[in-house]
Each structure stands twice: as structure tokens, then as C-alpha cells.
């Protein structure tokens, strides 16, 4: 870990300014990801701005009947919130499926969205990695890529985004509120927050340097049953091989609307809009779920070690849709 200077932010505006004015400054909150990366010198910030104590830790109902989640709400608190549990159960399920109790107690909402990939080559400074060092190559492409992306990846990078929470938020059409120096604010749909790697895998989000997430807003929950299904190698404390967040609204024997988001398969939370469209108006049946699963994985490409994720994701989508309908 390289030495750094540290300041505790007094306000959101000051925090944004403090980072914006220093090219090598970073926000820090729970530190559950950043500190690991700093110890390994994958991240080498010269200055840290601690935003964990900013008064952004409230969960409030919005005028439109949704929920506004402060960026500093801890994952444990968000998962335990009565509103979240009753109206956005998929989000609570996703949060509780992530990491461990200790990590959830520290991790913030914004930090969870901005956590970096767990690709083991990214984590090893002796290995080529375009995300860590642009132009050095991708060791995972021909290497151990069992955990890697089958959708949205590029020849430069096949890393996945590891968050569970973000997958559920993607299915819930969350919006990200940010604040920049001089109190400039903007709202970004969650689907637009993360970039695909293309040729620049080190550019992971659309956020500007010094732009800080202030809150995540959830619209009122869409009608239908919500399910978050995480498939992993052990019962707890493992990243998703594949995860599926599904919301299905049924009327009679037909599906009125459906939302499907996937984790563990792409460099960002992956919304399967084509599959959603195919389900809309379809008869709720194994054939329709199978068809949607095929659509969700259309264009998926394996890299050897992760080929199994394609059939696994299809089977998981199919069954999660069926489970959502069954319980609807």
C-alpha cells in the first residue's frame, strides 16, 4: 500500500470538490473493496476522501411512491429495511445473497455499485490486464475464465461485475443520483451507469472524476412477483456464477409484463430486454420461459472455462420465471 493523505468530508459538495481538484484522489466509504485493492497496489490513490459519515444514510419514500436510498446506507441496513423487504423483496434477497454479514455491515450502497471486478488476473499485478494497465493484454481470455462474462465482453476484457445488489436494482429500473462540484446534479438510469469494456476496460462507469453518487432512487415497484435467484459454488460467501432477478406480472394465463436482469454473465448488470418483450402477452408456459431464456442469452459467447454459464443461465432464467409465475 502506498502512503496517502486522508480527509473526512464535511459535506457532499466539499467531498466532490476535494476529489475533483486532485487527479489521484478517490472517495472511500466502507472500504471493503478499495482497501483490498490498495494493499495489493492495484489502486494507488494519493488522497482519500472519506464520505462514509455524510448524512446520506436515509431511506425515504418518494413523492411518486418509490424509495430514495441514500448512497451511504449500509447493505445490511438496506436489506433489513421494512419497505425494501415488503415492496422490493428481490433487492433484499440480492443483498443478503452477497458477500458476508461482516462485509455487508460495512459496504455502502454506492460502493456496492462501484465495486470492481474479482477477475483473478486483475488482482495480480504480475499478470497482463487491460483493466489494470491499458494495453497489457487480457490474461483471462485464454486463461482461467470460469467466472467470466459471456455477454457484453470484448477481446480486451471479459471480466464480470460482481454485484448482486446492482442486478436487482437493474431489474427495478433504479436511477442513480449524483452530485458534482458546484452542486451540479444529474440522474443516470442504472442501465447507463456502467460502460461495457470495448477497447477501454479501465473506464468502468460514466461518472466523471469527482462526481459522487448521492442516492439511488427506486420507482414504485412494478406489479408482479419478484425473485432473485443466485447460483453459486457454495452456499454462502461466493460470487454468482449466474444470477437472475425476475419480476413477472400475470393475468389469467397470460404474462402482462416481465423484467429480467442477470448477474455473473456480463461486465455490468445485464438487463434482458429482448426476453422481456417476448414474454409480454405470452401464455405462461414452459415453452414461453424456455423461449425467453434463449432470447436472454442470444449472442452469448463462452471462452472455454465459462462455456457452461450459457446453458446454466438459460436454465436459471427458465426456472426463475416459472417460480415467479407459480408464486404470483
Amino acid at each position: 500500500m502506498q502512503s496517502f493523505t486522508y480527509q473526512r468530508a464535511e459535506s457532499a459538495e466539499q467531498a466532490a470538490a476535494a476529489v475533483a481538484t486532485r487527479p489521484n484522489a478517490r472517495f472511500i466509504s466502507g472500504g471493503t473493496n478499495l482497501l483490498d485493492l490498495m494493499k495489493l497496489e492495484i489502486e494507488r490513490p494519493a488522497h482519500l476522501v472519506d464520505i462514509s459519515r455524510l448524512p446520506l444514510d436515509r431511506i425515504e419514500e418518494t413523492d411518486e411512491g418509490g424509495l430514495r436510498i441514500g448512497a451511504q446506507v449500509r447493505n445490511s441496513d438496506l436489506a433489513a429495511d421494512p419497505q425494501v423487504r415488503s415492496r422490493y423483496p428481490m433487492l433484499a434477497q440480492a443483498l443478503l445473497a452477497g458477500a458476508s454479514g461482516q462485509i455487508r455491515n460495512k459496504a455502502s450502497t454506492a460502493g456496492n455499485l462501484l465495486q470492481r471486478t474479482r477477475c483473478p488476473y486483475f488482482y495480480d499485478r504480475n499478470m497482463p490486464c487491460n483493466k489494470r494497465e491499458q494495453g497489457s493484454g487480457c490474461a483471462a481470455l485464454q486463461g482461467f475464465n470460469r467466472m467470466h462474462a459471456v455477454l457484453g465482453a470484448s477481446q480486451a476484457c471479459i471480466a464480470v461485475h460482481p454485484s448482486d445488489m446492482a442486478v436487482a436494482m437493474s431489474g427495478l429500473d433504479a436511477r442513480i443520483e449524483t452530485i458534482s462540484p458546484e452542486r451540479k446534479t444529474r440522474t443516470i438510469p442504472i442501465g447507463d451507469l456502467h460502460r461495457l469494456p470495448d477497447t477501454m476496460p479501465d473506464m468502468e462507469t460514466v461518472l466523471d472524476h469527482g462526481e459522487m453518487i448521492a442516492a439511488v432512487t427506486l420507482p414504485p415497484p412494478p406489479p408482479g412477483r419478484q425473485i432473485y435467484r443466485k447460483v453459486r459454488d457454495r452456499a454462502s460467501y461466493a460470487f454468482a456464477l449466474v444470477s437472475v432477478a425476475a419480476i413477472v406480472e400475470k393475468s389469467g394465463g397470460r404474462i402482462r409484463s416481465a423484467r429480467i436482469a442477470m448477474g455473473g454473465v456480463a461486465p455490468k448488470p445485464w438487463r434482458a430486454t429482448a426476453a422481456e418483450q417476448r414474454l409480454t402477452g405470452a401464455t405462461a408456459s414452459d415453452a414461453a420461459f424456455t423461449d425467453a431464456a434463449e432470447a436472454a442469452l442470444a449472442g452469448a459467447v463462452g471462452h472455454g472455462g465459462n462455456d457452461f454459464k450459457i446453458p446454466l443461465a438459460k436454465r436459471t432464467v427458465r426456472h426463475t420465471l416459472a417460480a415467479a409465475v407459480e408464486r404470483a
Partner: protein, 773 residues
């Protein structure tokens, strides 16, 4: 598809925390499930582990590892690191003190494996990825690590050998396996047996690189006082550890003191000294101040041993009734190019089942990786994973219940040595287990039992583990207040050694637990065999038992002859120590009172036990512990995720010294069995020669959620041939066969036989049919 009810069979106790040892008629303290005597220290944080020791003027080291797996350091620039704040010393091969050469790749004798010099920073050669190439010592750990990041290295990289599977043609036969066992064995003719056998199994299994991953990483605090070196570390066997340190530093062992009273898990990777110890000692000498070094978790993977990747071919030939005519177990294992380690993977096969024709073979494939080390039941753990699955395959082929198949091949005596078994209750374990587990309700046809969308399967496997005894001595003293102190250089690696030794001394001397204090983990105490090979309890326990006998003899002699003794002149030969009293014939006296009168300075005595391999009993009898494992799993029919539902182990391992700590040992072994069967695997990238998933997020061991319900049952057994206690090795028995029981349950659930461990869901999924929604 059949529907079955979930849950336990009617005859089960239904308790998840049940274990049972029938009380012996002469039940004393030995065997009782008493709490760990060191438990309060541990749960209150007062048990001081290696890295927690502190001394004045301490400095902290950080090891920089090589970024390549084979080649030379062409250039190493430490100028910036040396100037970094707080840095006292940067040591590389250019300025490290002279050490002996590493020596030959093949180690000729067993003791030398443990005691040979293993120098660090003594050459510009890089032999494996992340091998130490520099040590930075600084005011703080953080300063040392930051400075290490400033060291610039240029390598001349050389092509290395990293891919085990494509290098099988390089295989050679080592002179012997680990533990000095013979490399191959051959009885009869397998070829003719196979040709005649109507039923044949020929199956090849693969097991991956695995890492021990004790909770406490390797750590050392080294300090010199003149020519005397004191090392606080985390070690399983102090005498070997000390000898290894001394030979590496080129000093007499007597000048080295090893202190290791508490060990946060070992699993076999703390039997020898590693670079943390050697470098801390060298740096402490150079700086004339104490130096502390620990491996990071990531450094543990390259620098602290592993179990090597293996391929095992098991061939069985049987008649239509399942009687084995031939057994063949061939093992190919990766090894290090610079130090041989041959796990005795097929050795147990020589003792397990009867068959007139039999062969075992071990072959090694050298790779440019660090040496393998003794990991969690070396031999049996990977070997039984393969062999006991092959037996399951044979049972299905001949249409026999897997237990019945094993009973039909139960040998009357050791099938290769031709000597009787000291005790062997394998059949009893299987039968008792079958009854408790509800084995008869298992559907032998795989893939038919569906509950909701979970496929349910049940499997079993046998367990066998050799009983070793290592030479050990213990010293026991009683003071004028009747307080007993036992001292030996034994270690407690979390197994409960403090507790069982306390029980042994207290029972033998007829005193309460509170009157006995056991001190371990200091090389100044009498030498034992340490913790390893499941021999600690029997070896150290027997030595202490004999020491207590010797102490009693001294007390009795003095009691009869001393003028101050109330028992003076008592000549009856019938004597006893019980309830704090000494009895001679009809006369008795309080032990504490007696000592106060006759020996104000107390008494002291030593007792020993000889290495098992040298004893007549060991030569005359085949000595093993046995058991049977049962497992029930559920496999998600959509995702093929495998989860445990319950496990049962029925064990026969001689006299149980403490029912609680023994049970904990078996539970731990069963958990490791789950790990080996379902998740543990270190991936070696054949392009770079490094272990890719080198942390606990990516190297999966079972977590609590993976364990489900577990039951342990001990059958009553006393092995009088084994040692004076009648106890046998227990610690590793829990993992032997446990993974195979899980794997066989997965097969029973799905009908998919995965022969490449670990059985992760991606290996089951392609063969798992879609079930209608």
C-alpha cells in the same frame, strides 16, 4: 421418479450434535467429553499466537515474491526501497548471509525431509512463482510493504514446466513415497486376474492442486540474545522445525529455541520451517533487533505447501458375486523439480480389501512449482476419494449394495503384510452406520429420487487410516501442594491436545483436572513427535502416561521408605492413586499431604514411548483406525447446485480420549471431505506457472452453510496392541473416505459419475436432463 419424505429415518436420534462413547467399566477422566482446558484463553483472546508476541524494538518484515516462475534475477534495484521512510534493511540474494545450498532434488531419508536446510534469498535463481526474492524490514508492516513495492526487478525468464496433464510422459518412479513407504507393491498377477474376471472396472480419477489454508498464516518473531536464537512461530512439530532452522542457519540446534504454544491450524503445512522463519532469523541477526514476519494469505499459496495434482487409475476385477480377484491402484502426481514429495496415495489400498492379485504404483511428474507438503491425511484423502468411488462403481456393476460388496471383500488378515489386524471394526462401523442412517431406504438406482426440484442421493464409503506412533518423551512434576505440571514439546494445533493430556495425567495420578497443568510448545521441553500424521495424541499421550507411571513409582518408593511418611513400611504390593489419595494395601494417605511431608521440593519423572515402526507389536500387527461415512446430498435439477443434507460417520479408532474433542476432530475431517469432493481446487495457470485463485474468496473451502447436519458415532474399542492407552490415530480419519461418500451420493442423486474433482456444478450440468416445469 419416486417421491420420498425428507428428514431422518425413524430410528435416528435426530440430533445434529450427537456423539456417543460407551463408558468403560473403569471409567475415569480419560474419555470424558470435558471442555477444552485452553478454551477460556482462546475465546477471551489471551491465547497468544505467533504474530501477537511482542518485544521491545521490534521491526517488521515483508517478503517480495518473484513475478515469474522460472529464470534468473538479472537486475534488482532496491535503491528507492532503501530510502523509503522507516526502512531498516532490504535483503536480497546479493546481501543475504551465506546459507548452505538447497541440496539434491530427491531427498534420501525421511528425517532429512524435515531437517534439511531450506535457504532463502541465497541465489539469483527463481524456482517457482512468488518465491521470495527480497525482504524489506521496517518500522511498521505497512512501511515495509510499501517499500517492497518500490523494488524494481528485471528477470531473464526461462521456459518452465507447469502443465501436469501434458507431461505425464515425464513420469518417473521415486525411490520411496512419503513416510518412507515402498513406491510399488505387487502380489500375484493382475493381468491374469483381470483376464479371468467377469466384471471389470477401469476408472481414471483426477484430483487438483489443493492448499491447506489454516486460519492462521505462517508467522515468526525471531530474536537473538548473543548466539542464542528464539523463535516464536506457528509450528506443528518443534524438534524437526528446530533442526531445519539450525541446518539452514548453520548453527547447532541447541542454540535455537522454538516457542509455539498455540497454533491456529496446521493441516500439515507447519511441519517444517518456511521462509518467514528463516528470513526473520537472518534479518534479526543482521539488525540486532527482533524481527517479525508473516506470510500474507496470497503468499501462503506458493510458499507454504500444497497437495499436488494427481491422476489415479483404479482397476478392479471381480466375480459375479462381487468378490475381488484383482485390485490395481496407479497414481501419477505432480512434484517439484527441486524437491521431491510423493504422497503415499495408494498405500492404504494395500490394507483395505482382500484380493489375491494386487498392485499399487506411485509415479511423479516434475513441475517448476514449490514442493508439496503433507496435507490433511496425505495418501488417504485423495486416494480414497478415487478408490472408494471405484468400489461404488463396482457395486452398481455387480448389483450389490455397496456395504455388502465391502463385507464380501473383508480380509481375515492384512492382505499384503500377511499379519493379523490389531483391531479392525470396519464391518461393524458400516453396519451400525447403515442402521442409524436409514441406508436401507436408499434407492440403488440413481437419479430417481426427486423432492420438489431437488434430486436426492445417498452414498457411503469406508475409512481407513494407519496408526503411527512417534518417539516421544514427557516430563511430569508434582510440587509440595500436590499440583502437577507436565511438560513436553508437543503442540496443540486446535485439536485438543492440552485437554487430553490433562485428562491422561489426572486420571493416571488420581487427581482432579484442576490439579494438573500441561505446558506445551517449547523446544526446551522433552522431545515428542509433535502434531502430524494423527499420531500426536497416542504418542505424546503414551509418553505422558508412562511418565506418570514413573512418577507414581518414585512417590511409592519414597512413601514406603521416608521417615516422615504416614505410609512408611507399607509393603503391600497392591497400590493405587485415586481421589487425591495414595493407597498401599489397606493404608492410604492424601497425596498432597504425603508429598509435603516426604518431598518438600516435589518429585519429577520422565516417561517415553518408542517409535511405532521399531516395536515388536507394530511388526506383528497391522494397525489402523477404521470408519464408515454416509452422506446425503441434494442436487438442484435446474442448476445442478450440490448441497449437503446430512452426514454420518461411525468410527472405530481405539480408546477415545475425550469424546468432545474427538468428535470435533471427526467433524472437521468431514467438512474437509465436503471441500475435497465439491469445491477445493487451486488452478495452476500453465502459461505462467502461478496459482490463479490464491485467496479465500476464490479458493473455496466449505462455509457453515455448506455443512448441514452431521453426526459422529464412536464404536467402543480398545486397541491393546497399539500402545498403553489403547488409543489410535483419529485426527485425519474423519477426512478419509468422507469425500467419496459425498461423491457417491452425488452419483446416486443424479446418475452422473464425475471422476474429476472437485465435483462443481458445471461438470454435472451437461448430463442433467431438463425436467418439465
Amino acid at each position: 421418479m419416486n417421491e420420498t419424505k425428507p428428514g431422518l429415518p425413524a430410528d435416528s436420534t435426530g440430533s445434529a450434535t450427537h456423539s456417543r462413547v460407551k463408558p468403560r467399566p473403569d471409567a475415569g477422566l480419560i474419555g470424558r467429553p470435558i471442555d477444552r482446558v485452553d478454551g477460556p484463553l482462546k475465546v477471551t483472546g489471551r491465547a497468544t499466537y505467533a504474530y501477537e508476541h511482542t518485544l521491545d524494538g521490534i521491526a517488521y518484515g515483508y517478503i517480495l515474491g518473484a513475478a515469474i516462475a522460472k529464470g534468473r534475477i538479472a537486475e534488482i534495484d532496491t535503491a528507492e526501497a532503501e530510502k523509503a521512510p522507516g526502512v531498516f534493511l532490504v535483503m536480497t540474494h546479493r546481501n543475504a548471509p551465506a546459507q548452505p545450498d538447497f541440496g539434491a532434488a530427491v531427498t534420501p531419508t525421511v528425517p532429512e525431509v524435515f531437517t534439511r536446510a531450506r535457504p532463502a534469498l541465497n541465489s539469483d535463481r527463481v524456482r517457482y512463482y512468488d518465491e521470495p526474492i527480497a525482504l524489506v524490514v521496517a518500522q511498521t508492516f505497512e512501511a515495509a510493504r510499501a517499500a517492497a513495492g518500490l523494488i524494481r526487478v528485471r528477470y531473464d525468464e526461462e521456459p518452465g514446466r507447469y502443465d501436469f496433464r501434458t507431461r505425464i510422459a515425464d513420469a518417473y518412479a521415486p525411490k520411496r513415497t512419503n513416510a518412507g513407504l515402498q513406491t510399488d507393491s505387487l502380489i500375484g498377477s493382475l493381468e491374469s486376474a483381470s483376464a479371468a474376471a467377469p466384471v471389470k472396472i477401469d476408472a481414471t480419477y483426477r484430483t487438483p492442486f489443493e492448499h491447506h489454508n489454516p486460519m492462521e498464516p505462517h508467522a515468526t518473531l525471531a530474536s537473538w540474545s548473543g548466539n542464542e536464537l528464539t523463535i516464536h512461530t506457528s509450528a506443528q512439530t518443534l524438534a524437526n522445525f528446530r533442526a531445519g532452522v539450525a541446518s539452514t542457519l548453520g548453527i547447532a540446534p541447541e542454540r535455537v529455541r522454538i516457542v509455539s504454544p498455540f497454533v491456529g491450524g496446521g493441516f500439515g503445512c507447519k511441519l517444517i520451517a518456511h521462509a518467514d522463519t528463516i528470513l526473520a532469523a537472518l534479518a534479526a541477526q543482521a539488525l540486532q533487533r527482533p524481527v517479525k514476519i508473516a506470510f500474507t494469505r496470497q503468499q501462503m499459496f506458493a510458499n507454504a505447501g500444497h497437495r499436488a495434482e494427481m491422476i489415479q487409475q483404479v482397476r478392479l476385477g471381480a466375480d459375479n458375486d462381487g468378490r475381488l480377484a484383482g485390485i490395481s491402484h496407479d497414481v501419477w502426481s505432480a512434484t517439484s523439480s527441486f524437491e521431491e514429495y510423493c504422497e503415499q496415495t495408494a498405500a492404504f489400498t494395500r490394507s483395505l480389501y482382500a484380493a489375491p492379485n494386487r498392485t499399487t504404483r506411485h509415479r511423479l511428474v516434475p513441475l517448476d512449482v514449490n514442493r508439496g507438503e503433507w496435507m490433511r491425511s496425505p495418501g488417504e484423502a485423495p486416494g480414497m476419494l478415487a478408490f472408494e468411488c471405484a468400489m461404488d462403481e463396482l457395486a452398481e456393476r455387480v448389483g450389490l449394495d455397496p456395504i455388502e460388496l465391502r463385507i464380501r471383500n473383508e480380509p481375515a488378515q492384512d492382505p499384503e503384510r500377511g499379519v493379523p489386524f490389531s483391531t479392525r471394526n470396519l464391518v461393524a462401523c458400516m453396519e451400525e452406520g447403515a442402521r442409524r442412517f436409514g441406508w436401507q431406504r436408499r434407492d440403488p438406482t440413481p437419479g430417481r429420487t426427486l423432492e420438489g426440484r431437488k434430486l436426492i442421493g445417498r452414498g457411503m464409503a469406508a475409512a481407513i487410516r494407519p496408526n503411527y506412533i512417534g518417539a516421544a518423551t514427557a516430563r511430569v512434576a508434582i510440587d509440595r501442594n500436590g499440583q502437577v505440571t507436565a511438560r513436553l514439546d508437543m503442540t496443540d494445533i486446535g485439536t485438543g491436545t492440552y485437554t487430553i493430556l490433562t485428562q491422561i495425567a489426572a486420571e493416571n495420578l488420581g487427581l482432579p483436572i484442576a490439579s494438573v497443568k500441561v505446558e506445551l510448545g517449547d523446544s526446551r521441553f522433552p522431545r515428542t513427535a509433535g502434531s502430524g500424521g494423527s499420531w500426536g495424541a497416542a504418542s505424546a499421550g503414551s509418553a505422558l502416561y508412562n511418565a506418570c507411571d514413573a512418577l507414581k513409582q518414585r512417590i511409592l518408593e519414597a512413601a514406603r521408605s521416608s521417615e516422615a511418611s504416614p505410609l512408611r513400611g507399607a509393603m503391600a504390593t497392591e497400590t493405587g492413586f485415586a481421589d487425591g489419595e495414595v493407597r498401599v494395601g489397606q493404608r492410604s494417605a492424601s497425596l498432597a499431604d504425603l508429598i509435603r511431608r516426604i518431598a518438600p521440593d516435589g518429585f519429577e519423572a520422565e516417561g517415553s514411548v518408542a517409535a511405532g515402526a521399531t516395536t515388536a507389536s507394530y511388526k506383528a500387527y497391522s494397525q489402523h483406525s477404521y470408519g464408515a461415512h454416509f452422506a446425503e446430498v441434494e442436487v438442484d435439477c435446474d442448476t445442478s447446485e450440490i448441497r449437503m443434507r446430512r452426514m454420518l460417520a461411525v468410527m472405530a479408532a481405539g480408546r477415545i480420549l475425550n469424546a468432545k474433542t474427538a468428535r470435533s476432530q471427526i467433524l472437521g475431517g468431514m467438512a474437509w471431505g465436503i471441500g475435497a469432493a465439491l469445491m477445493e481446487e487451486t488452478v495452476l495457470d500453465p502459461r505462467y506457472g502461478h496459482f490463479v485463485n490464491h485467496d479465500l474468496a476464490e479458493y473455496h473451502v466449505p462455509v457453515n452453510g455448506d455443512i448441514a447436519e452431521m453426526e459422529v458415532v464412536f464404536l467402543e474399542e480398545q486397541d491393546d496392541k497399539a500402545n498403553p492407552l489403547g488409543a489410535k490415530g483419529l485426527g485425519e480419519l474423519g477426512v478419509c473416505g468422507a469425500g467419496a461418500a459425498v461423491a457417491n451420493a452425488v452419483y446416486n442423486a443424479t446418475g452422473v459419475r464425475v471422476r474429476e474433482f472437485p465435483i462443481t456444478l458445471d461438470k454435472v450440468l451437461p448430463a442433467l436432463p431438463l425436467i418439465a416445469i
